[in-house]
C-alpha cells in the first residue's frame, strides 16, 4: 500500500519535469511546445509553431512576435480551401478566447520568420518573444525539427540526450 503514494509522487514529478522542459506561462496563459522547422538551404523564410492555452476568465490576443534571427516576424494563417493553399498575415493578431487552447501548427496559424539572418538549424533552439495584449511579453525557445516535419517530436529525437 505504501508503494502507491510513492508511485503517484514519481508520476507527478515526471509530469512536472516534462511540463518544465517545454512549457511556459505568462499571466493566465500557458505556452506549450514551441517548435520551428529547420529551413532548407537558401530559404529566407521559416515557420514556428506552439499552443496557447488561456486559463483565465478573459480573452487575450497574441498581437506580435519578434526574434533576433529574423528581420521581420509576422503571424500568418494558412488555409487550404478548394485545394488552394492561401496564406495571409493576421495584422490584428490571433484571439486567445478564455478557457480555450489555440494551436499554431502546420496547416493553420504559424509564426512566420522573414528576412532570416541565417538558416534555422536543428540543435539550435530559436528564441522568440511573444507579445500578448493583456498578459504582456514572454520569451520562449523553439525546439527545431527537420524542414517540413509535421511536429516537434523529430526535433527532440535529433537533439538526443533527453
Amino acid at each position: 500500500m505504501r508503494i502507491l503514494p510513492t508511485f503517484l509522487a514519481a508520476a507527478l514529478f515526471i509530469g512536472a519535469g516534462t511540463a518544465l522542459a517545454d512549457d511556459y506561462a505568462v499571466g493566465q496563459l500557458e505556452i506549450g511546445q514551441p517548435w520551428a522547422r529547420a529551413t532548407p538551404p537558401g530559404a529566407s523564410t521559416g515557420g514556428g509553431f506552439l499552443t496557447v492555452t488561456n486559463e483565465g476568465e478573459t480573452a487575450d490576443r497574441l498581437v506580435s512576435a519578434a526574434s533576433p534571427i529574423a528581420g521581420r516576424v509576422e503571424i500568418h494563417e494558412m488555409r487550404v480551401t478548394d485545394d488552394v493553399m492561401k496564406m495571409r498575415p493576421i495584422a490584428d493578431g490571433v484571439a486567445i478566447p478564455a478557457g480555450e487552447t489555440v494551436e499554431f501548427k502546420p496547416g493553420a496559424f504559424h509564426i512566420m520568420f522573414l528576412e532570416l539572418k541565417g538558416p534555422i538549424e536543428q540543435g539550435e533552439p530559436v528564441p522568440v518573444t511573444l507579445t500578448f495584449e493583456k498578459a504582456g511579453s514572454i520569451e520562449v525557445e523553439m525546439v527545431v525539427a527537420p524542414p517540413g516535419a509535421p511536429g516537434p517530436e523529430h526535433g527532440h529525437e535529433h537533439e538526443g540526450g533527453h
Binding site: 522547422r37 532548407p40 530559404a43 515557420g47 494558412m78 488552394v84 493553399m85 527537420p146
Partner: protein
C-alpha cells in the same frame, strides 16, 4: 391485354439498349486511340522549363516514367516543406521502386526562384526530387496546362509578396496523361497506395 404489355416492355427495353449502344459508340469514337477520357484528363501537356542544374527540360524528359509533380515556391513556410517532407517519406517507403518515377517540384515563383535557389532548397529533401523553374511566360504556360491555380498576394508592407497556390501533388502516367492527385492532408497510406499503383501500371 397481357400480350400488349409484354410488347410495350420489350419495346422499352430495346429503346434503352439502343440508346446506350449509340451513346457508347459516340463516347468511344470521341476517345482518340481508344484511350478512355474523363472530364479531367486534359490536365498536363507540353512545357519548357529549366531544371535545378540549369538544363532546359520539356514534358518529353518525363515521359517513360510516371511522375509526381508539385507546384509551390521556396518562400513558402508551410504547405511546400510539409509536402516535400511527406514526398521524401513516401520515396523512402517506396524504396528502389521510387526510381521508377519522376519527382518534380515546380516553382511558380518566377521572380525569386531559379535553378540555384531550387538546387539549394531541395537539398533538405530526398535527392530524387528535381526542381523546375521558368520565366513568367513559361510558368504561365505550365500552370495553364496543368490547371494549377496561383496568385501573387502582396504582403502588408507592400514590398514583398506571398503566393496562394494549388496544394495537391499531380500524378501523371508514363505517357504524360493525368492519373490523379495526392491531396493536401490525405492519409499517407492512401498516398502510398496510389504511388504503388502508379508504378505498377507503368
Amino acid at each position: 391485354m397481357h400480350r400488349r404489355m409484354i410488347a410495350v416492355l420489350v419495346g422499352a427495353v430495346f429503346a434503352v439498349a439502343a440508346t446506350l449502344a449509340v451513346f457508347t459508340m459516340l463516347v468511344v469514337s470521341n476517345a482518340p486511340n481508344g484511350v478512355q477520357q474523363t472530364g479531367v484528363a486534359d490536365i498536363g501537356g507540353p512545357f519548357t522549363l529549366t531544371d535545378e542544374t540549369g538544363a532546359r527540360v520539356t514534358e518529353a524528359d518525363l515521359h517513360g516514367k510516371p511522375s509526381a509533380i508539385f507546384f509551390g515556391f521556396t518562400f513558402c513556410p508551410d504547405v511546400c516543406p510539409t509536402t516535400l517532407f511527406e514526398l521524401s517519406g513516401l520515396i523512402d517507403r517506396l524504396g528502389p521502386e521510387a526510381d521508377k518515377m519522376n519527382w518534380v517540384f515546380v516553382s511558380v515563383d518566377w521572380e525569386r526562384d531559379g535553378p540555384q535557389e531550387l538546387q539549394d532548397y531541395l537539398q533538405a529533401f530526398d535527392d530524387r526530387i528535381r526542381g523546375f523553374s521558368g520565366t513568367k511566360e513559361e510558368i504561365e504556360a505550365v500552370t495553364e496546362a496543368y490547371k494549377v491555380f496561383y496568385e501573387r498576394v502582396p504582403t502588408e508592407d507592400g514590398g514583398d509578396y506571398t503566393i496562394n497556390h494549388t496544394a495537391s501533388v499531380y500524378l501523371m502516367d508514363a505517357e504524360g496523361g493525368f492519373a490523379g492527385t495526392l491531396g493536401y492532408g490525405e492519409d499517407p497510406d492512401t498516398m502510398f497506395a496510389k504511388l504503388k499503383r502508379l508504378v505498377a501500371d507503368a
